[in-house]
Symmetry: C2
DNA sequence: CTGAAAGCGCTTACAG
DNA sequence: CTGAAAGCGCTTACAG
């Protein structure tokens, strides 16, 4: 019998000679169905080109296949690269992705996650760094556990302390690499323009820096600013006149701001001051001078997050560790004889 | 009577003393209901904190409030800035946004739009430049008209020839400004590294450049490459040795690639070669040398597109024109005595 | 303009 | 493990 429009689950069920209920269980990967029947139904579904109606699923109490991605700010290259990786992988898997912006405020982040859940979205990827505020993270943790119990899939980028799958940026070791690079060049008085100290990303990178510069005579001066180019500018301003020979920005946006501020003051990089960043966003190679930075594979991290989401849930949270690469360009060199 | 969970439309209807059907018409802005009743129902809904269940709507044949945004590539700053504007405005209006990537292939763009429609998404914003291929655009046009007829809202960025609301980037006049700037500086042999010629954005900017350089003795040499940094590099390579004193990249990514290639060859900018871009993406100010470019307000364009979507449909497609601003930085100057 | 009723395509107790 | 049935919360002909 010919039928208008897309095939429905009932069509699949009929073609497979099973009940609607069984077909549903076969497609939703639910338990309570024999593997043979499930495989058979899925085969028929494939043949018929069946695509589940997400609204029917959502209404009936199921979860829809859409992936919700929570970022701090999509205009930030760090997040847009992650988003690009997520969308690329999701599209290959025929999944839609919905993006929510937390605008860099932690409460809004939780609100976005809850809004995603309310929409019965089946998978959530949280790309933003976690916060050190344990009360807040506890509330996030509670929400995610509830969601997981209801069949939702979650992957976070960073935030290994949350009881969900995670892809781990190599922040600590990247910090070590940067610190060691500077220390080996001979820098002793090093400034750090950090983002908000309550961000785990910031804490991890700073800890790495400390470890990498753990030599006699090395002194780190840390100031905290917004995690943006403007924050970098403000931080550089704070740090000038403190007798430093190098400044590290805790992300490339900040480092670029630092570069800009130093240029304003006519301070030559790297002759008078070395500058190093984190992430290796696309333009890091093109700023003046080209930025030395610890590359974090944002795009890949996005793809990894999707791969975690796609696997069925397991008892133990899983983790995908990523690596970093120190990219040495023109903005770092030996310290000047006279510090600034 | 207390009730678990969120209020449903039936709860609103009861509280307002009307039928479910009337409540539905009041909320969905449909016709066939008196303005007084509609206002009353909406008041009650507001009071109760009613939020429509999008899955029920979608299932029942309505359109869901989600905004679908189609970009070429979210990792490209041009698009991530637009996306940021879209998401910002959408969030304020309590609307979700779903992003689809067309990966710079026109067929995929149409496929993405159709997929959005299949999901019963009520609003679609197409951010990518249109293509000169009229057959292809005809198919897109047909799809969008059907969608509009079914109550969907569409806004495109660029593509004024499509029968839908549009926000218009100031591409032509930006081209004029860039062309005039170079001509006034005294450049006569100017290279242009264009993106794919079938992109309207490219055509408009080139037309503007021609108009702005329409003086005796000025000659434009145009080559076409991918609309990316790598395209800029390849284009610069093609253009070297042709006796030019200036090269314009048709977007900043290309211009930055051009800068990079010139640096490889030891050609000083702007002393030996001027370079100008389009868009003013965030890093244009930080590359070496700082890039002269025609600023296009991507973030605002995203917000404008949402504002178009939010207005009820009208008979005539509406249009929001935007402006540009020529930002003169260090990458442009008078021509060198000896062209390259 | 207003209302009663059918139906959208699923999932999930509830029985067996 | 399998199936019959109820129900999720809306929209939209169909009547009036």
């Amino acid at each position: 019998m010919k039928r208008e429009g897309a095939p429905r689950l009932i069509d699949v069920a009929e073609a497979a000679g099973v009940s609607l209920a069984s077909a549903s269980r076969a497609m939703s990967g639910g338990s309570g169905i024999s593997p043979e029947v499930a495989a058979h139904v899925r085969g028929i579904a494939q043949q018929l080109g069946y695509e589940p109606n997400m609204h029917a699923r959502g209404l009936a109490g199921g979860l829809v296949p859409t992936i919700g991605l929570v970022v701090h700010e999509i205009g930030d290259p760090y997040f847009s690269d992650i988003a690009s990786g997520v969308i690329r992988s999701a599209t290959l898997e025929n999944r839609s992705v919905q993006i929510a912006q937390a605008e860099r405020t932690p409460d809004s982040e939780l609100a976005q996650v809850k809004s995603l859940m309310r929409q019965r979205i089946g998978s959530i990827i949280i790309a933003g760094s976690g916060y050190a505020d344990s009360q807040r993270e506890q509330r996030m943790s509670d929400a995610l556990v509830d969601f997981t119990l209801a069949g939702g899939r979650v992957a976070v980028i960073g935030r290994h302390y949350l009881p969900v799958d995670a892809v781990l940026p190599d922040n600590h070791r990247a910090g070590v690499s940067v610190g060691r690079h500077l220390a080996e060049l001979g820098h002793r008085r090093i400034g750090v323009v950090a983002g908000p100290l309550e961000l785990n990303t910031v804490a991890d990178r700073i800890a790495g820096l400390r470890e990498g510069t753990d030599e006699p005579g090395v002194e780190l001066t840390v100031v905290s600013q917004a995690f943006t180019r403007e924050g970098g500018i403000a931080g550089a301003r704070e740090l000038l006149g403190r007798g430093l020979t190098a400044i590290v920005g805790l992300n490339d946006a900040m480092a670029i701001g630092i570069l800009s501020e130093l240029r304003q003051h006519g301070i030559r990089v790297p002759e008078e001051m070395s500058v190093v960043g984190f992430d290796d966003i696309a333009v890091a190679a093109d700023v003046a001078p080209a930025l030395t930075t610890a590359r974090i594979p944002m795009f890949d991290m996005g793809q990894h997050a999707v791969s975690l989401i796609l696997r069925p849930a397991s008892d133990e949270p899983r983790t995908i560790a990523t690596s970093h690469e120190l990219i040495i360009r023109q903005s770092s060199g030996p310290p000047a004889p006279v510090a600034i």
